[in-house]
């Protein structure tokens, strides 16, 4: 012992830095669960309304563009396996602090909007089970419950995540089985699948559908959060991320075909809980009531799974920004025992609640449809970020690479970039008012930035903004 009793005796365990916990399979299901819940249950009616019976084409194209974007993410993640995501890539590629800040705020805003949209979708499906409470109350309680669950840390269970994903997939399998059963009975009219029943330019109609269906693919970028803890990220990340997206896309196309075959397009378009209409057709030889209830529960779980991830991500982004001194340091506050960023969580809940209430007031005053607008707001912001990420991916070629770096196909990335910009252009052209909503969300971020700037915390000594003054003094003691 005497020989080792010097200060230099500190040695690392041989496995330091190699203990990672997320396997490729877990990452695949994480991606699948995150993507699957986000839109199909909520938005399939809107896509059907925009395109007509051929709306599966919109899903197929939207999914393709999203998967290509996923490939760009995969390449960047294998180079920079950190939890920061898009803002890190933009910083590396362009070196501009202002642009990086804008991207972070946009992403955060998009995440808030997505949460709002998902909460509204949750309320729609909930109403089919129990019509008692008002939709606004249901969505508010839903968001609040998820914030509490996140604070406690239940969301951290990998097993829980897998279970919820299996339920989601099961729900969509039910729809596909209904479709196959229907075809087997010989009642299917395949002409519907080629029907673009919208007046005006069919290409524009499909583009509108893509903009909506794209929302159904968002969420995949959240997988960058777990990049650092993925086993063999160079091999597993591209496979699991792009693989998860392609499988999700395939499921979407099949589900939308089944929906188009079994339910008249107008009926899908008018429904708040469109997939439920498919179940309600009573095509399978089971009690329709039982099937409807079962499916509603599945839909609620699916939406919950995706919303949970968005609510995990928001405080994480705020935490990162607080550490970088661009938002007030209070957002980096960690609860002493739960180790959760409780201030960030509360802030997320407050913003989403405000968004839901504001939207509800607009609707009751005879204004626009809340889900629709929130979904488009999300898409506009995310499309801009996705396009930038692809550019960043191309710009960073040749830097920080080694033999194991995954390399996405360059012509494909070009196609993805053009696709993202085309959808972005259309989304803005179709509904210029979404720009106002975007501006509102970004304004929240700018206000945060100004508050931080005015507080002058940049001049504080390191460690002085750790939040708990007692903790600091105890450390010094």
């Amino acid at each position: 012992m005497a020989e080792t009793s010097t200060g230099a005796s500190t040695v690392d365990d041989e496995d330091t830095g190699l203990r990672r916990s997320i396997t490729g399979g877990q990452l695949f299901f994480y991606t699948l669960g995150d993507v699957l819940g986000s839109g199909i249950y909520v938005l399939i009616g809107l896509v059907a309304a925009a395109v007509g019976g051929a709306f599966w084409i919109a899903f197929a194209l939207g999914v393709t563009v999203a998967a290509i974007t996923g490939a760009a993410y995969a390449e960047l993640v294998t180079k920079y396996p950190q939890a920061a995501g898009a803002s890190l890539y933009i910083k590396k590629a362009f070196g501009s602090t202002a642009l990086t800040f804008l991207v972070t705020v946009s992403f955060l805003s998009a995440s808030f909007a997505a949460t709002g949209s998902l909460a509204t979708g949750f309320a729609s499906y909930f109403a089919t089970l129990w019509d008692g409470p008002p939709a606004l109350l249901v969505s508010l309680v839903f968001v609040l419950a998820l914030v509490v669950v996140n604070f406690i840390g239940i969301t951290e269970s990998v097993v829980m995540n897998m279970l919820m994903t299996f339920v989601e997939v099961a729900g969509l399998l039910v729809i596909m089985v209904i479709g196959i059963w229907f075809i087997a009975q010989g009642d299917a009219d395949f002409g519907v699948l080629a029907d673009i029943s919208v007046s005006g330019n069919p290409a524009l109609a499909v583009l509108a559908g893509i903009a909506f269906s794209f929302f159904a693919m968002t969420g995949f970028e959240n997988t960058a959060n777990v990049a650092e803890e993925t086993i063999e990220p160079h091999r597993n990340f591209p496979r699991s991320l792009v693989g998860g997206m392609v499988v999700a896309g395939l499921v979407y196309v099949l589900v939308s075909m089944a929906a188009a075959l079994t339910v008249p397009t107008d009926q899908l378009a008018d429904s708040d809980a469109a997939l439920l209409e498919v179940v309600k057709q009573g095509i399978l030889p089971f009690s329709t009531d039982v099937m409807t209830t079962l499916f509603s529960v599945i839909a609620l779980i699916a939406i919950t799974n995706t919303t949970l991830v968005t609510i995990v991500t928001q405080p994480r982004i705020l935490y990162g920004m607080a550490k970088e001194d661009v938002v007030p340091g209070v957002f980096a506050r960690i609860h002493a025992t739960r180790r959760s960023p409780w201030v960030g969580l509360l802030f997320s809940a407050a913003v989403v609640a405000a968004l839901l209430i504001a939207g509800s007031i607009v609707v009751s005053a005879g204004g626009i449809d809340l889900v629709n607008t929130l979904a488009l707001v999300t898409v506009v912001l995310l499309l801009a970020i996705y396009a930038l990420v692809i550019v960043a991916c191309l710009k960073l070629r040749g830097q920080d690479e080694d033999g194991r770096t995954y390399r996405a196909n360059t012509p494909l990335l070009m196609v993805g970039l053009i696709g993202n910009l085309a959808i972005l252009g259309f989304a803005v052209y179709d509904d210029p008012s979404s720009l106002v909503w975007c501006a509102g969300l970004i304004a929240v971020g700018v206000v945060l930035f100004l508050v931080e700037y005015a507080a002058g915390s940049r001049n504080r000594p390191p460690g002085a903004r750790r939040g708990d003054p007692e903790a600091v003094s105890r450390r010094d003691a």
């Binding site: 012992m1 080792t4 009793s5 200060g7 005796s9 500190t10 040695v11 690392d12 365990d13 496995d15 330091t16 830095g17 203990r19 916990s21 997320i22 920079y80 950190q82 939890a83 920061a84 890190l88 910083k91 602090t97 990086t100 800040f101 972070t104 406690i152 840390g153 239940i154 969301t155 951290e156 269970s157 995540n161 959060n225 777990v226 650092e228 803890e229 995990v312 991500t313 405080p315 994480r316 935490y319 990162g320 920004m321 550490k323 970088e324 001194d325 980096a332 960690i334 002493a336 025992t337 739960r338 180790r339 959760s340 960023p341 960030g344 390191p462 007692e470 903790a471 105890r474 450390r475």
Partner: protein, 159 residues
């Protein structure tokens, strides 16, 4: 005897490590492993509150929770500098309680040292703290160090 010292990046975990040095006989400790556990699916996978803060550029900071965990582990390991036993460092990933227990099993540890969870309502009613779960399932004795009681301002006025 091998000792596993767990840190979650909190000042309390640093105090727990110091508490060990305040009474234990370093000659009887064959080795120390300082263990930090990242929670990849949590909002903040690891929060380091004990090492000196680093300034980050916009877009780059706080991205690496692994680096945060490394800094926390280094800060706790520094407590044992010159104390005697050989100090190893380990960063794991997963559920904190399960990983701490696994680290203790792997090292055939004779003692786990960690900070207490809170005494708040959330811990009692809902799920219990990491410290509680480790105590229940650990393969060896567990030293749970409670934070010092808060100094009361009222007492100071009277004095």
């Amino acid at each position: 005897m091998h000792v596993v010292v767990a840190t979650d990046g909190s000042p309390q975990s640093l105090a727990a490590a110091r508490h060990l040095t305040s009474f234990a006989d370093p000659a009887k400790i064959t080795g120390i492993s300082v263990v930090a556990v990242l929670r990849p699916l949590a909002s903040v996978a690891f929060a380091d509150e004990i090492s000196e803060a680093e300034h980050h550029e916009v877009g780059e900071g706080a991205g690496s929770f692994r680096e945060a965990a490394q800094r926390a582990v280094d800060a706790v390991a520094a407590v044992f500098d010159g104390w005697g036993p050989e100090v190893g460092k380990q960063i794991r990933s997963g559920s904190p309680a399960a990983e701490i227990i696994e680290a203790a099993t792997e090292h055939d540890a004779g003692l786990i040292v960690m900070a207490a969870g809170g005494r708040g309502l959330s811990d009692v009613i809902l799920l219990g703290s990491t410290a509680q779960r480790v105590q229940h399932y650990a393969p060896c004795p567990v030293l749970v160090v409670r934070p010092a009681p808060r100094p009361r301002r009222a007492t100071r006025h009277e004095a």
